[in-house]
Amino acid sequence: MDTVMLYIIAAVLIAVSAVKDRDKTRKAVMKGLKSIEGILPQLIVVLIAIAVILSLFDAETISRYLGSGSGLFGVLIAGLVGAITLIPGFVAFPAAGELLRNGAGVLQVATFVSSLMMVGVVTLPMEIKYFGRRAAITRNAVAFAFSFAAALFVAWVVSL
């Protein structure tokens, strides 16, 4: 859905740009295409890494470890799995909802969602390329720790 919006916005802006200045528009499109090619190698590696990781942990394995009785260990697993995997939100949210309905704990699911969104181990090499080692590692480490705090808060609010 949001992808369609994105295309509409891009198309409208390119049309406006082309009416205003054809040359500049051509330059903008060329720049865009060139930067796609620029990050293509890293993207393909990320793609392969995700495929391998997701094929090793499937939904049933994950839900077995994230039951509401899984306690602290389950929370830790949830955080780690979220940090390592990279699943787009429109797949992850329904899957997380399914986990909740199948008996996973709110705390575990919230930890998983938070670290999934904020921490990216697979994309770390890309992030380092843009932000340097120190900033990228700090961001991921602090975000990982924050995921647990955020999950505690979410679980508390949901239990109210």
Binding site: G32, I36, G38, P41, I44, I48, V113, T138
Partner: protein, 188 residues
């Protein structure tokens, strides 16, 4: 000949990952279908989401002058810059790796490091289009509670990074972002 060589150099990691993937499928053929499905699914997402992001990025690069962006998101932009960075990141669609090239262009246009960090944080977790999805799947309470805690969280993470990364390193990151400019193809 040289061009081919540099192409192979840039894609070396891809070749290695591809060989590792092939080895995995050969030794554990039962994983094959799942690996294939995931590759197709994720590849489709990338191919769908990235082109419009990069086209918008090209437009931003060509049309928005450095002075303008600096006024809105530069070091002196204050609270207004913070809100704008939040809004920009939250309005985004697509996975986090899509944010890195955008951040590089924003850096080149003079956005402050704090605002870049806020932007990355917002892109990672407070995306508005995704919020509706989350409410639907996990409940309104769950989604809104997460949003409420994520806003201070993003600021805390940004502050943590700023205290840990020395000034010289930030300058180096900005210099690197300038060379990642799409209009100057990397050395070949």
């Amino acid at each position: 000949m040289n061009k081919v060589k540099s192409l192979i150099g840039r894609y070396r990691a891809v070749i290695i990952a591809g060989l590792a993937l092939a080895a995995l499928v050969v030794f554990m053929p039962e994983l094959g279908p799942r690996v294939g499905m995931s590759l197709l699914e994720q590849g489709r997402t990338m191919l769908l989401v990235l082109p419009p992001i990069f086209l918008l990025l090209g437009l931003l690069d060509v049309w928005v002058p450095r002075e303008t962006l600096m006024r809105f998101m530069g070091p002196g932009s204050g609270f207004k810059g913070l809100v704008l960075s939040f809004a920009l990141g939250s309005a985004a669609a697509g996975p986090l790796y899509g944010a890195f090239p955008v951040a590089a262009v924003l850096m080149r246009k003079g956005a402050s490091f704090s605002n870049i960090l806020i932007f990355i944080g917002a892109w990672s977790t407070t995306k508005i289009p995704m919020l509706l999805f989350e409410m639907n799947a996990l409940g309104v309470r769950f989604a809104l509670a997460r949003l409420a805690i994520d806003i201070p969280g993003i600021i805390i993470i940004a502050l943590a990074i700023k205290t840990v990364v020395p000034k010289a390193e930030i300058e180096r990151i900005y210099a690197a972002a300038a060379t990642m400019d799409a209009s100057t193809p990397r050395k070949s």
